[in-house]
C-alpha cells in the first residue's frame, strides 16, 4: 500500500550526486515529494532526506540500488514511526490583517513566531509535521496570505546511534580528493 516514507542517504560531496540518486526513483516512476540535503557532523559527508509516497518493498529495492552507487555510504528506508522529524514553514501576511480577527491566538495556539514585521507585511514561522503546517495555512488564509513556503523534512532516526559511530570512523579515512 502507498504510504509516506522517509529515505535517508549518506553521500560523499560530489557534483551530480543528487542526479544520481533521483534518477533511481525516476526509473521506477516514484515521485519525490520533498528533499532536504546538508552536510552532516562529519565534514565531507552529506545526508539526503527524501520523502516519497510508495510501498516499502519497492523502496527497499530502490535503496539497494542507491547504495550501489560509488559515492554513497549508506541508504535507508524509514516508516513514519521510525523517525523523529520536523518541517518548517514561513507565512507572509499582509500587515493590514493585523487589525482583523485574532491572529495572536493563532500564533500562540500553534507555537509559531513572528520573524519580521514591515509596514506592508509580516512573516510567521512555524515548525511541525506537514499536516500541522497546512492546518495553520488554512487558518491564516482569511488574513490575506501573500506567500507561503515550506521546507522539506529534517529527520533523526530513532535507532541510529551505532551509525553515527560508523560515520565518525569514516572521518578517519581520507576523503576522495577528486572534485569535479
Amino acid at each position: 500500500m502507498q504510504k509516506e516514507y522517509t529515505v535517508t542517504v549518506y553521500t560523499e560531496d560530489r557534483i551530480g550526486i543528487t542526479n544520481r540518486i533521483s534518477v533511481i526513483f525516476t526509473r521506477r516512476g516514484i515521485n519525490i515529494t520533498s528533499l532536504t540535503t546538508a552536510e552532516t557532523e562529519i565534514p565531507g559527508v552529506y545526508k539526503f532526506i527524501i520523502t516519497v509516497l510508495s510501498e516499502r518493498d519497492r523502496l527497499e529495492k530502490v535503496v539497494g540500488q542507491i547504495e550501489k552507487l560509488i559515492e554513497i555510504h549508506r541508504a535507508f528506508v524509514h516508516d513514519e514511526d521510525e523517525v523523529v522529524y520536523q518541517e518548517l514553514a514561513l507565512y507572509k501576511i499582509s500587515t493590514k490583517s493585523l487589525h482583523t480577527g485574532d491572529i495572536e491566538k493563532i500564533i500562540r495556539d500553534n507555537n509559531a513566531r513572528i520573524l519580521t514585521i514591515t509596514p506592508d507585511y509580516f512573516v510567521i514561522e512555524k515548525t511541525g509535521h506537514q499536516q500541522e503546517l497546512i492546518a495553520m495555512l488554512q487558518k491564516l488564509e482569511p488574513y490575506g496570505l501573500i506567500e507561503y513556503s515550506k521546507s522539506g523534512r529534517v529527520a533523526i532516526v530513532k535507532w541510529s546511534r551505532r551509525f553515527h559511530e560508523h560515520l565518525k570512523d569514516l572521518s578517519l579515512i581520507e576523503a576522495d580528493n577528486l572534485k569535479d
Binding site: 560523499e12 551530480g16 544520481r20 547504495e67 550501489k68 560509488i70 559515492e71 569535479d180
Partner: protein, 583 residues
C-alpha cells in the same frame, strides 16, 4: 588479404616513458602514462577535435600501446567488451566529445547490464566552454550517469591520474562495469606534476563483501538435506573465476547444473552434471525442472525475466540460496531463503567442505528424460535435417564439431543467438561472448574483433544474423586495417527472424517490417578485402566451414538458411516457465 598502406609505427623507444616517477608533463601525456601504469596495451578508439591532444600524446607511445582505429565509436565499445570478456582485462575506449561520446551510449549500457569492465575516456570542450552549447559539447556525464558504474568529469590536469586510477579500480572490482572519464581539452593541454598511484580503496565503496560464515553454513545445510538440488550458474561464476569450485561442488553433492545465457561456457557442455541452458529459449529439462527442484542454488546471476518468466510461478516449491556479489540483486526479483552476499569463488570454496558427498541419480534422470523429449520434438530435426533448406542449428553444429567446442563464440542478438547458445558445445570458460541483458543488435562483429585481439591464440567465430550484421558491418574496415583474424558466419534468413517469430506466434502472422531485402554480403566483404563464400546447400556446409577455418586471417561465410524457422523450446514472455512450448 591485399597489401595495404599503413603508416609505419614509430619504433624509437620513448625516453619519457622510462624517466623518474615524478615530472612535469601535459594532461594528455598523463592520460597515456596512467593507462600504461594500469597495464593497458590496447585501446579501441576514434579521434576527434576535443581528444586530439590525447591522440597526439599517444603518437609517442605506439611501441607500448596499440590503438585500434574503429569505424564507429559504438564498435569501439563492443570491441572493448569482447576484449574484456575474452581475456578478463579492462577494455579501454577513446572517443571525442559530442557525437563521439553519444555513440558510446549503447556499448556503455550493454556493458553495464552485462557486468563488463570497461574504461571509456572522452574528450570534452574546454572547461570555460562547459554549459555554453559549444561546438561538439554534450553533457556526457549526465547522459551516461544511469548506464555507467561510475563517471567523472576532469577539468584540471592534476586530477587526471587520480581519476584514471579510480576508474580502473571501480571498473574491475566487485561486480565489474563500465566507467567513463570525461576530460576537458584545457586539462589535456595544461601541465601537471605527474605521479601515478593505483587506487586501492574508496571509503564509500565496498566491492569485496566479507563472507558470512553463518549464511554459508545455512546454505550447506539446505544442500545436505536436498533430494533435488539444482544450480543456476550465472555470469558471476566466470567473472569470479569460480568454474572449478562450482564443478567441484556439483560433483561432490551430485547437483544438477544449468546455465544462464551469460553463464554458458563456465561448465563444459559434456559434463555429467550439466543439464543445459535455461531461459526463454533454453533447454526443456532445466526450465521445467526449475519447478521440480527442492533447493535452488543461484550463483552469480540476477533472475532476469528471460529466466524466470512469471515470477509468481518460478521455483515456488524450492528453497532459494542466492550467492551474489551485488547486494542490490539479492531479493530484487526472487526472495532468497539464504542470501550469501559474496564473491562466487570465495563462497563456493567455503561451501565445498561443508557439503556432504551425495548421489541423486533419479533427479538427474529427470533431466535425461526431458532431454529425450527435446531430442525427439526439436533437436534431432534441427541438428540433423535431411531435407529442406539449411537450418541455423546444423550450421552451428558443424562449427562446434570442427572447432571442437574450443572457439570463442561471439553471437549477436535474435534467433541465431539463441540457436548458437543452444547448440554450441562449449568446453572452455569465457568462450561465450554475447549481448545478454541489453540484447544489442550489432554487438557481435565488433565484439568478436575485440575478443580476437584479447585472445589472439583462440579461434574466434562470430555468428551473426543478417539484420545484426548490417548494424555494424563497417567494422570490416577495422578488421582489414588491423588484420584481425575473426571468422564471420552470417546466418541469413532474409528476415528479422526473432521479431518475425513473435509476429507469427503472437501477432497473427502480420509480418510488419521484418522482411529484409539484403545486399550481397560476400561482395561487401570483398570490398573490405575480406575473403568469403556464400552457401545455400547442405552438401556445401562441411566443406565451407572447413575452408573458413583453414583460412589465415578474417573470413566471411554467408549461410542462407530456412526463412521461416522458429526457435523452440520457447517460454512465452511473462508466462510461467512450466508453460514452455516444444513446438
Amino acid at each position: 588479404m591485399q597489401q595495404k598502406d599503413v603508416l609505419p609505427m614509430r619504433t624509437e623507444s620513448d625516453k619519457r616513458a622510462t624517466a623518474p616517477a615524478t615530472e612535469i608533463i601535459t594532461g594528455a601525456e598523463a592520460v597515456i602514462r596512467s593507462l600504461i601504469a594500469e597495464g593497458v596495451d590496447t585501446i579501441f578508439g576514434y579521434p576527434g577535435g576535443a581528444i586530439m591532444p590525447i591522440y597526439d600524446a599517444l603518437y609517442d607511445f605506439q611501441d607500448k600501446v596499440h590503438h585500434i582505429l574503429v569505424r564507429h565509436e559504438q564498435g569501439a565499445t563492443h570491441a572493448a567488451q569482447g576484449y574484456a570478456r575474452a581475456n578478463g582485462r579492462v577494455g579501454v575506449v577513446f572517443a571525442t566529445s559530442g557525437p563521439g561520446a553519444t555513440n558510446l551510449v549503447t556499448g556503455l549500457a550493454d556493458a553495464h547490464m552485462d557486468s563488463t569492465p570497461m574504461v571509456c575516456i572522452t574528450g570534452q570542450v574546454a572547461a570555460a566552454l562547459l554549459g555554453t552549447d559549444a561546438f561538439q559539447e554534450t553533457d556526457v556525464i549526465g547522459i551516461t550517469m544511469p548506464i555507467t558504474k561510475w563517471n567523472i568529469q576532469v577539468t584540471r590536469p592534476e586530477d587526471i591520474p587520480g581519476a584514471i586510477a579510480k576508474a580502473f579500480y571501480i571498473a574491475r572490482s566487485g561486480r565489474p562495469g563500465p566507467v567513463l572519464v570525461d576530460i576537458t581539452k584545457n586539462a589535456q593541454v595544461a601541465k601537471l606534476d605527474f605521479q601515478y598511484k593505483a587506487c586501492e580503496h574508496i571509503r564509500s565503496y565496498h566491492p569485496h563483501p566479507a563472507l558470512n560464515a553463518d549464511a554459508v553454513k545455512a546454505a550447506a545445510e539446505l544442500i545436505n538435506n536436498a533430494k533435488r538440488p539444482y544450480i543456476l550458474c550465472g555470469h558471476g561464476v566466470l567473472l569470479a573465476g569460480a568454474e572449478k569450485e562450482l564443478i567441484a561442488l556439483a560433483e561432490k553433492a551430485d547437483i544438477a547444473v544449468a546455465s544462464t545465457l551469460l553463464g554458458l561456457s563456465a561448465v563444459p557442455v559434456d559434463h555429467p552434471n550439466y543439464v543445459g541452458y535455461t531461459g526463454m529459449h533454453g533447454n526443456y529439462g532445466p526450465n521445467i525442472n526449475t519447478n521440480e527442484c527442492d533447493v535452488l542454488l543461484a550463483v552469480g546471476m540476477r533472475f532476469d525475466d528471460r529466466i524466470t518468466g512469471d515470477v509468481t510461478a518460478f521455483a515456488r516449491q524450492a528453497k532459494i540460496i542466492h550467492i551474489e556479489i551485488d547486494k542490490a540483486e539479492i531479493n530484487k526479483i526472487i526472495p532468497a531463503d539464504v542470501a550469501v552476499h559474496a564473491d562466487a569463488k570465495e563462497a563456493l570454496a567455503a561451501l565445498l567442505p561443508l557439503v556432504n558427498k551425495a548421489s541423486h541419480p533419479e533427479w538427474l534422470q529427470m533431466f535425461k528424460d526431458a532431454d529425450k523429449k527435446e531430442d525427439e520434438k526439436v533437436r534431432n530435426r534441427e541438428l540433423y535435417p535431411t531435407e529442406g533448406q539449411l537450418k541455423m542449428a546444423e550450421v552451428v553444429r558443424v562449427i562446434s564439431e570442427q572447432t571442437d567446442g574450443r572457439a570463442i563464440l561471439v553471437t549477436d542478438v535474435g534467433q541465431h543467438q539463441m540457436i548458437a547458445s543452444r547448440y554450441y558445445r562449449f568446453k572452455d570458460p569465457n568462450t561465450n561472448i554475447t549481448s545478454g541483458g541489453m540484447g544489442t543488435m550489432g554487438f557481435s562483429l565488433p565484439a568478436a574483433m575485440g575478443a580476437k585481439v584479447g585472445a589472439p591464440d583462440k579461434e574466434v567465430v562470430a555468428i551473426i544474423g543478417d539484420g545484426c550484421f548490417q548494424m555494424t558491418l563497417q567494422e570490416l574496415g577495422t578488421i582489414y586495417q588491423s588484420e584481425i583474424g575473426v571468422k564471420i558466419v552470417i546466418l541469413n534468413n532474409n528476415f528479422l527472424g526473432m521479431v518475425r517469430q513473435w509476429q507469427q506466434l503472437f501477432f497473427d502472422k502480420r509480418y510488419s517490417s521484418t522482411e529484409m531485402i539484403n545486399p550481397d554480403f560476400v561482395q561487401i566483404a570483398k570490398g573490405f578485402f575480406v575473403p568469403g563464400r556464400k552457401i545455400t546447400e547442405r552438401s556445401e556446409l562441411e566443406g565451407a566451414v572447413k575452408e573458413m577455418l583453414a583460412t589465415k586471417g578474417a573470413y566471411l561465410l554467408e549461410c542462407v538458411v530456412e526463412q521461416e524457422d522458429n526457435v523452440f523450446p520457447m517460454v512465452p514472455a511473462g508466462a510461467p516457465i512450466s508453460s514452455i512450448r516444444l513446438e
